[in-house]
């Protein structure tokens, strides 16, 4: 009976449903897409970079991105379980890198360094892993465990405090100077297979990151400990009722996150051979960005987010900004990274793969 009336009025009424914000957001989306596409068109058509160069940029992005991904795993797992941004995780990474530096430095004067680089690299990786794991667990014990159940802002602030504390303890212990990693001769130069040229360091980074992430995935999906982690992430109270030791599981989460960050720290030293007490900050932020980008709480998402962020950073400036002849566009790579984050979140408010979180608990 009222059918006809509703049909009639509907088009007119629909108009009122379009709020200024959604108009703005859509305009923003379209404008950004247009800017990106036109910029890409301009730079590709200008032929400034050859296909091989584009490929190199991608490979490069993937290798940086896989380090972000490794660090991001720590953020995303902690977030998944405890729902807070562990700001100190960047410092966990830095401590790992610092340890890697000292071990590498000690090894560099031994014949092992040149005779069997793989072994020495492994030693460095393991040392970094253990240090970072230890630090992550200690932070959890001292700073976060007493705060279970506190409002969400509280552990966040604590983690900022922990971040400062670790940075400046490290500064006090080993001094403010920037230290440069010893170079590993066998890792110089490029590696070639089937016409595909890749820097050896990048290859090592990508392979190591893949191994670690694969291992982690299997661990979380298949093992008992991994399953209890997922259970705690889903609902800690129910998990506790099911006989899972929540505290121990959370420690495990921190330990694994720390180990990943430690590996990332050692790898970072290979690619970017200088480190000081402040080096953890930016990679930490980037890694958290990756975690959000991929969909926080989502392990596969963190990996994907990290690699995407690496690629955005590496390819983005040359692809989009260069097209508009913006001077010194590569200076703006971080702008591209953050803009990409905003962009992805405007299109997909819960990240690329979506959150994998249980319902918000209040």
């Amino acid at each position: 009976m009222t059918q006809a009336a509703t049909v009639e009025t509907r088009p007119a009424r629909r108009a009122s449903r379009i709020t200024p914000v959604s108009v703005f957001l859509w305009a923003l989306r379209i404008a950004i897409l247009a800017i990106i596409l036109y910029g890409s068109y301009l730079s590709i058509s200008s032929g400034r970079l050859s296909a091989a160069q584009w490929r190199d940029l991608f490979v490069f992005g993937i290798s940086t991105g896989s380090m972000y991904a490794l660090i991001a795993l720590g953020y995303t797992m902690v977030y998944g379980v405890l729902r807070f941004i562990n700001f100190a995780h960047g410092e966990v990474f830095m401590v790992g890198a610092m340890m890697a530096f000292y071990v590498a430095n000690a090894l560099a004067v031994t014949p092992l360094w040149t005779s069997s680089p793989a072994v020495s690299l492994l030693i460095v990786l393991v040392a970094a892993m253990f240090t970072s794991t230890a630090i992550a667990v200690i932070i959890e014990r001292i700073a976060y465990r007493p705060l279970r159940g506190a409002p969400r802002l509280i552990p966040l602030i604590t983690s900022i405090g922990a971040s400062f504390t670790i940075q400046y303890l490290v500064r006090g212990l080993v001094g403010p100077a920037t230290k440069s990693f010893p170079r590993m001769e066998p890792l110089r130069g490029t590696f070639e297979f089937g016409g595909f040229v890749i820097l050896k360091t990048q290859l090592v980074v990508i392979v190591a990151a893949l191994v670690m992430m694969g291992g982690l995935y299997l661990f979380v999906e298949k093992t008992r400990t991994g399953k209890s982690m997922r259970a705690v992430a889903e609902d800690p109270e129910t998990a506790a009722l099911m006989g899972i030791n929540v505290d121990r599981t959370i420690v495990n989460v921190f330990a694994i996150g720390g180990a990943m960050a430690g590996v990332a720290g050692a790898l970072w030293g290979l690619v970017f051979p200088s480190i000081n007490f402040f080096s953890g900050f930016l990679p930490g932020i980037k890694a958290f960005t990756s975690a959000v980008l991929g969909g926080i709480g989502n392990i596969v998402g963190a990996m994907l987010g990290g690699v995407s962020l690496g690629i955005f950073e590496s390819v983005g400036p040359s692809l989009v900004l260069a097209g508009y002849e913006i001077p010194a566009f590569s200076q703006l790579k971080d702008v591209v990274a953050y803009a990409a984050l905003v962009l992805v979140l405007i299109f997909r408010p819960t990240g690329i793969l979506g959150e994998r979180l249980a319902q918000e608990r209040t």
């Binding site: 400034r48 920037t178 590569s330 200076q331």
Partner: protein, 449 residues
């Protein structure tokens, strides 16, 4: 409701108090005198600037900056204002150590011990420079301040410290903004009483430009900085004289200090048709530019040129930096410097961690010498340091220091080191050899500055 009315009243009274306060402030600096007189013998200079408006800050304080009395047996106080926290902590810590060594070496001036009364942090920022210098000048006994680490902190610090009649002398500010363009024009932020033993970017820029244009005969140049004020200033200081000489800056671009992939920038540079790339940046970004320049099409023939930030052992031993040119102030190779490094390493457990320690060591010693010249002893050990005479002494002295022979120009630039252009050729084994391979050395006169 009561509460609200109270608040409103509070606001009203606040406004009133402001007006009163401002009136007080406007009455010819009366406020500063009451606050300062109690303890400062040098407050006269403070009032001068109270009334000075923007743009005219270069006006020198009037005659008579006052004096500082040091009683017999009391220490002579100096202060350091360096970046000792945060990301740039190593820059300042390095210089603080040099100052401490200088004090230990000197032991006493005119029979008075020397006290580093303040070890202030400039935070490598303008607000750090402002607060730190305000604190230092609150102590009327401080004669001179060695600092700042960063030019950004130097801008407000120079204003505050020189207005109080004291001297600021820096071992690592290189920005022309703080002194002059070396062509006789004082910069907007130059204040009488500011000195520095670090070279003005303008000297190095001009030397590099002259070398590229006249000796290499190249006219199409690209510059790359890393967004750091130092490197951005230096590329700027290169570009202006280079264009004046008739060259063309085909592209002026930048990377970030943590960037590892330089290919896109280098491709851009290649596309612009650069014959030479001037990138006065630091490691490790500099490593990546040199390494990746070889891989970019169109840059095979392009000449690379860096500056002092890249003159290190780990850099010149990179195979890709072969044949590269570097500009940089003549470096101390004297025994005195070697001896300094030994002392440094003994005292602090590590070798010098940055490159401006020697400059601060020299700056500190210049201060000592100037005090010795300007101070008068009343015979019983009481010292009177006339601040104007102290400034004059600094301005007119010639000091043989670790970094060479220092004498100040009219705008506080004391370092006029010869700028060496060196080349890293195949037979150079290490940094010392590269530094020794001087192709040409420009003095300030050579550059017409």
């Amino acid at each position: 409701m009561k509460m609200k009315r109270g608040l409103k009243l509070l606001a009203l009274v606040g406004v009133l108090s402001l007006v009163i306060a401002a009136c007080g402030g406007g009455e010819g600096g009366e406020t500063t005198t009451t606050a300062g007189e109690a303890e400062t013998t040098t407050s006269a200079a403070g009032e001068e600037t109270t009334t000075s408006a923007a743009g005219e800050t270069t006006t020198a304080p009037a005659e008579g900056l006052g004096t500082i009395e040091v009683a017999a047996g009391d220490p002579i106080k100096i202060a350091s204002l360096q970046s000792i926290s945060g990301e740039t902590a190593s820059l300042g810590t390095d210089q603080v150590r040099a100052i401490e060594i200088a004090i230990t070496d000197k032991a006493e001036v005119l029979g008075h011990p020397i006290e580093l009364a303040f070890n202030e942090d400039d935070g490598c920022s303008s607000e750090g420079g402002q607060t730190g210098s305000t604190r230092i000048i609150a102590d009327p006994q401080v004669v001179a301040v060695i600092g700042t680490s960063c030019s950004g902190a130097g801008v407000p610090a120079s204003n505050v410290i020189t207005s109080a009649g004291r001297v600021l002398i820096s071992g690592s500010n290189t920005s022309p903004v703080l002194t002059s363009d070396l062509a006789g024009n004082a910069s907007a932020e130059y204040h009488d009483g500011y000195f520095r033993t670090a070279h003005n970017d303008a000297i190095q820029g001009a030397a590099a430009a002259k070398f590229v244009f006249e000796e290499l005969g190249l006219t199409q140049v690209a510059t790359i900085n890393d967004g750091d004020p130092y490197t951005q200033g230096l590329t700027g200081a290169f570009e202006a004289p280079f264009e004046e000489l008739g060259g063309t800056i085909v592209i002026s671009t930048a990377v970030t200090a943590d960037q590892t992939d330089m290919r896109s920038v280098l491709t851009e540079v290649a596309a612009a048709g650069a014959e030479l790339i001037f990138f006065p940046i630091f490691q490790p970004a500099g490593d990546f530019i040199a390494e990746q320049a070889l891989e970019v099409a169109g840059l095979e023939e392009t000449v690379l040129m860096g500056a002092d930030g890249l003159l290190s052992d780990t850099y010149v031993t990179l195979p890709q930096t072969e044949d590269m040119y570097f500009s940089g102030p003549q470096t101390p190779t004297t025994d005195a410097y070697a001896e300094f490094v030994t002392k440094y390493t003994e005292a602090y457990g590590e070798a010098p961690i940055q490159s401006f320690h020697a400059h601060s060591y020299d700056a500190t010693n210049m201060v000592f010498t100037a005090i010795e010249e300007a101070a008068t002893d009343d015979g019983s050990g009481n010292l009177t340091i006339d601040l104007q005479a102290f400034r004059d002494a600094l301005g007119s002295m010639t000091h043989e220091g670790l970094t060479g022979s220092l004498s100040c120009d009219d705008f506080g630039d004391c370092a006029s080191p010869n700028i060496d252009i060196v080349q890293n050729t195949a037979d150079q084994a290490d940094i010392e050899a590269v530094r020794g391979n001087v192709l040409i050395s420009y003095s300030r006169e050579d550059l017409g500055l």
